[in-house]
């Protein structure tokens, strides 16, 4: 039987596999480097590519936006804005509504009395804000209805909320209605968001608003954009 000495065995196997240590170490080091630097480099490259794609998209949007904005007719646009501001003023619509109502009453010969106005407190975010009006009219039923119908076709836009004929034969009625306004935002959306010019339906709507009667009260100049929304701002 062969004598198995542990020291002899250790020497034997150390000598046998010593030659493997160096190449194996190199291999392991390379694999470790690949897993660290190589991986980081690949990730960095992919991130850069992603950022480049995002930038390309933004540049494309900006080019389209610039072309659209340059194609706009500033004079026509200013006129369209004036029409829309007449329909939905940027400041409380009390005065323009009163002026339109007075003009309408003068034209129709209807007596308006007991006028009450209250500006409703609406949420800051609400797009349209309301001013409530109440008045009494001395006119027969048909004239009153005709008057209210004409009110619907005047600027600023109004909405009759309640009509009460307490004595239709005597020609007395009370009307509640609201007129609308909306402040102009000081900020513009981020520059590299897409932009669409007025669509055909919007232009048609403006044409319809143009038909509204009423007095034109000089609007304040549009405020200069103060800045843009920061989409990352909380």
């Amino acid at each position: 039987m062969k004598n198995l000495d542990i020291n002899t065995l250790a020497k034997k196997y150390t000598a046998k596999y010593k030659a493997f240590v160096l190449p194996l170490s190199i291999l392991l080091v390379i694999l470790a480097l690949s897993a660290t630097f190589g991986k980081d480099l690949v990730l960095a490259s992919l991130e850069k590519r992603e950022r480049i794609n995002v930038l390309n998209n933004k540049i494309q949007i900006l080019e389209n936006k610039k072309a659209t904005l340059q194609s706009l007719d500033q004079t026509a646009l200013a006129e369209q804005v004036t029409i829309t501001l007449r329909a939905v003023p940027s400041a409380p619509s009390t005065l323009p509504t009163l002026a339109s109502l007075k003009q309408l009453a003068t034209q129709t010969g209807i007596v308006i009395e007991n006028f009450n106005v209250s500006e409703q407190s609406t949420e800051e975010e609400a797009a349209a804000r309301e001013v409530s009006f109440t008045f009494s009219m001395q006119a027969d039923l048909n004239n009153t209805l005709e008057f209210l119908e004409q009110m619907r076709q005047t600027a600023p836009l109004t909405k009759v909320t309640k009509v009460t004929f307490s004595s239709p034969q005597a020609g007395s009625s009370e009307v509640n209605f609201v007129s609308f306004w909306s402040p102009i935002s000081d900020t513009l959306p981020p520059t590299d968001t897409s932009f669409e010019a007025l669509t055909q339906s919007e232009r048609q709507a403006i044409e319809n608003l143009k038909e509204l009667r009423g007095v034109t009260i000089q609007e304040e100049n549009l405020p200069t954009p103060q800045g843009r929304f920061n989409p990352f701002e909380l």
């Binding site: 034997k12 046998k16 030659a19 493997f20 190449p23 194996l24 190199i26 291999l27 390379i30 694999l31 690949s34 190589g38 480099l41 490259s45 850069k48 480049i52 930038l55 933004k58 540049i59 900006l62 610039k66 904005l69 706009l72 500033q74 369209q80 804005v81 829309t84 939905v88 797009a127 349209a128 039923l141 209805l145 209210l148 119908e149 619907r152 836009l157 909405k159 009759v160 909320t161 309640k162 009509v163 009460t164 004929f165 004595s167 239709p168 609308f180 909306s182 935002s185 513009l188 520059t191 590299d192 932009f195 010019a197 007025l198 919007e202 709507a205 403006i206 608003l209 549009l222 954009p225």
Partner: protein, 184 residues
Amino acid sequence: MAQPKKPGINLLPTEFRESGKLTRAKNLLKRTSFAVLGIYLISLTFLVGANFFLSSIENDRRENHAQKVQEVEALAAQEKLTLVAKERVKIAQNIFTTLSVTPVDLIQETLSSISPGILITQLEASEGTVNLAALAQNSSSLDFFFERFGEQFNTVEESRFTSILLDGLSRREDGSLSFSLVFK
């Protein structure tokens, strides 16, 4: 002329001698290590090059983007005007939607049902509801009114009202009939 290979003398004891199999494995490992090292170096060079190339493209795009932003910023007035017009048109369209049925329309539809012999004493219309108080000269006037009224609302397909409620009916001393209706 090639020299014949001289036989080597290995003085190591047999247990320490390398077998042919082990030598082949060692050589294979060596070759593999160098091959992997080569591939790694080539890949690293390619990655560094690609990274550098992408960095230069990214910088170029950033400059281009900043320039385009400036060009669009210069047209902010047009953008502002368009947005104001769009915003107001949207508000106006929303208002027009709510104006599809106004108290005036409701009153007109209610009045269309009033027949001779009926005297309106009070009429109140708010959004979606009309309260009507009236006097009928006599019971036949009231019968005629209800008959015509029923026919009208049964035949009108697009009536703005979905329900009509007789809220009260009473006879007065002079023989006339007082009644009130709620249209919804």
